[in-house]
């Protein structure tokens, strides 16, 4: 992840994110046709989806449960709530309104933690329904401006959505990427959504403004069409620079919605807020209030899995690695932390166990084929300097290919005979005798001279001595 230059002249970035996720239900939010991505157009439709006269919405219990899971995982208060109609005319919304939550959403006042214990507030996580999918034809760009006509597929209309609205607590594009990544991990962990940004089951709208410390936040622009975690960072960096350039050039920022173009790496005006949105929200008369019982909320909470942050923390403590570091992140992301624990429980060296799994188990499932005790045995071989770290890597590959086995036998088969410590020590002494100049320099504090000495031992051991062991012996002898 590259560091982006900070904004010039003391400008500070303010970001808030609105993330929409499609819930992993079998059916829609308010009706019983299928919630399934990739089906033939208009094959998952019903009177409610199409807004036919007389059709009445009924809440999907499982959608509510998944939304509660999201709320609890994000440390929200889950509260009694109501549904509203958000009125606007658009062809992908056949009822001419979207059912959403307005002043009494299901989940409020949560937070999510980022690396470095940065706390990002969650204002709300509310339920609503997705719209149909329009495809625009004619015109030059395939986008709506200048198109000749559009075709509509209503399979997605009415799919349950949760919109997760952060507080404007994000201060860098890196934090924004981390936020989206962490949110995605949480959604996957609790099974609320498949959270595939490339398929649109997780979508981000990014609110960006700039200000100088001690002054109020500037006017914000909302950026749409940000379809990957990488784009989140790029769009924010571009937009922040654009706003600073406008202001420093004597202009003012208009509140508007902008479109991110991933190909050009720019944002452009989609619509200004001057023709202010007036959605005339009112209570949905076809739905009654949703009041989740405390017993239901407690049951959902009790069934929540351990969340990724807690799992990284546990793994970090077990293995002595950084909880915000790459190995803890990668291993938990793959769900292989339980496996690492099993390796440690089988007597494995904790640090080597997590590193082996991080580096060599990318293609493995959460439950790798290699028995934990075999990987444990390998970590011990390396720890006890029975094999070098290079040899251990080779054995690791052998072990994975074989799906397990006796690593000591594998080492023997490879000719990785054990060099005991006294043998290495003898070679180290021989090297010191053979390279008195290098040894003198090393003793005088020239660390570079170490290379010649280690090289000499490696040579005399025909590569069987472990570089780390040799170095440790030389260091011990120097003092």
């Amino acid at each position: 992840m590259s560091e982006v230059a900070a904004l010039p002249n003391g400008w500070q970035l303010i970001v808030g994110l609105e993330v929409h996720v499609e819930l992993a239900t079998k059916t829609k939010m308010f009706s019983a046709s299928a919630n399934r991505f990739g089906d033939e157009p208009n094959t998952n439709i019903d009177p409610v989806t199409l807004g036919l006269p007389g059709a009445l919405p009924v809440l999907n219990q499982h959608a509510i449960e998944l939304a509660i899971r999201i709320g609890l995982a994000l440390n929200c208060k889950v509260q009694p709530c109501t549904f509203h109609r958000k009125n606007y005319f658009y062809p992908d919304l056949p009822k001419a309104y979207q059912i959403t939550q307005y002043d009494h959403p299901l989940n409020i006042d949560g937070h999510l933690m980022l690396p470095g214990d940065v706390r990002i507030g969650i204002e709300r996580a509310h339920l609503e329904e997705d719209t149909g999918k329009s495809t625009h034809f004619g015109g030059s760009s395939g986008r709506i401006h200048g198109s000749d006509y559009s075709l509509i597929d209503f399979n997605r209309a009415g799919v349950p959505l949760v919109e997760i609205v952060s507080r404007p607590d994000i201060r860098t594009s890196e934090q924004a990427r981390q936020y989206v990544g962490e949110l995605r991990s949480i959604l996957l962990a609790v099974g609320a959504s498949d959270a595939k940004m490339e398929e649109g089951s997780m979508r981000c709208d990014v609110n960006v403004s700039v200000h100088k410390l001690g002054t109020p936040f500037g006017t914000r622009c909302e950026i749409k069409n940000v379809n990957s975690i990488r784009s989140v960072g790029r769009a924010i960096d571009y937009e922040a620079r654009r706003q600073v350039d406008v202001i420093e050039g004597g202009g003012t920022i208009r509140q508007e919605t902008r479109h991110w173009d991933d190909a050009t790496g720019r944002t452009e005006t989609l619509r200004t807020k001057e023709d202010a949105d007036d959605y005339r929200y009112f209570l949905e008369p076809d739905l009654v209030p949703l009041v989740p019982d405390q017993s239901w909320i407690d049951a959902v909470r009790a069934a929540l899995p351990v969340l990724p942050a807690a799992r990284r923390q546990a793994l970090a403590e077990l293995c002595g690695v950084d909880k915000d570091g790459e190995s803890a992140f990668v291993v938990v992301e793959r769900g292989q932390d339980d496996y690492v624990s099993a390796v440690v429980a089988a007597g494995g060296d904790p640090r080597r166990a997590v590193v082996y799994v991080q580096q060599a188990f990318a293609e493995q499932s959460a439950t790798p084929k290699v028995p934990a005790k075999d990987l444990a045995a390998l970590t011990i071989l390396e720890r006890d300097a029975k094999v070098t770290s290079t040899q251990a890597k080779t054995l690791l590959t052998d072990l994975i290919e074989a799906g397990g086995g006796d690593v000591s036998a594998m080492a023997t088969k490879r000719g990785f005979e054990a060099l005991d410590k006294s043998a290495v020590e003898a070679m180290v002494d021989a090297a010191i005798a053979a390279e008195p100049g290098a040894w003198q320099k090393y003793c005088n504090g020239e660390e570079k001279a170490l290379g010649a000495l280690v090289g000499a031992v490696m040579k005399s051991s025909k590569g069987k001595a472990d570089g780390k062991v040799i170095t440790a012996l030389l260091q011990a002898k120097r003092t």
Partner: protein, 100 residues
């Protein structure tokens, strides 16, 4: 709600609802809407401090259904009733405004 509803508000609301009203209709609607708002003023005049706000006239909550799939409507039958269809989808005129 002390002010009487203005003609400008009626014009704005009719625009939002995509209703095209003649001047005469606008006048009439303004008068009728003002009459409706009168009723709310009657309610405002009552002391309702001890009355819970009501979100629904029915004493119901938590009306839920199981997440069980039912068959879709027949696509061809549905599209036959649309003004225009193409490639299994509804065909609509170009929309001026915005991508969603």
């Amino acid at each position: 709600m002390a002010e009487k509803i203005s003609k400008e508000t009626v014009v704005k609301v009719s625009r939002l609802a995509r209703l095209s009203l003649t001047t005469e209709e606008t006048e009439r609607m303004t008068a009728q809407l003002a009459g409706m708002l009168e009723h709310f003023r009657d309610i405002d005049a009552l002391d309702l401090a001890s009355v819970e706000p009501m979100t629904q006239p029915y004493p119901l909550k938590n009306v839920l259904r199981k997440d069980v799939e039912l068959p879709s409507l027949d696509r061809d039958e549905v599209l036959d009733q649309a003004p225009a269809a193409e490639s299994g989808r509804f065909r609509v005129p170009p929309t001026i405004g915005f991508d969603v």
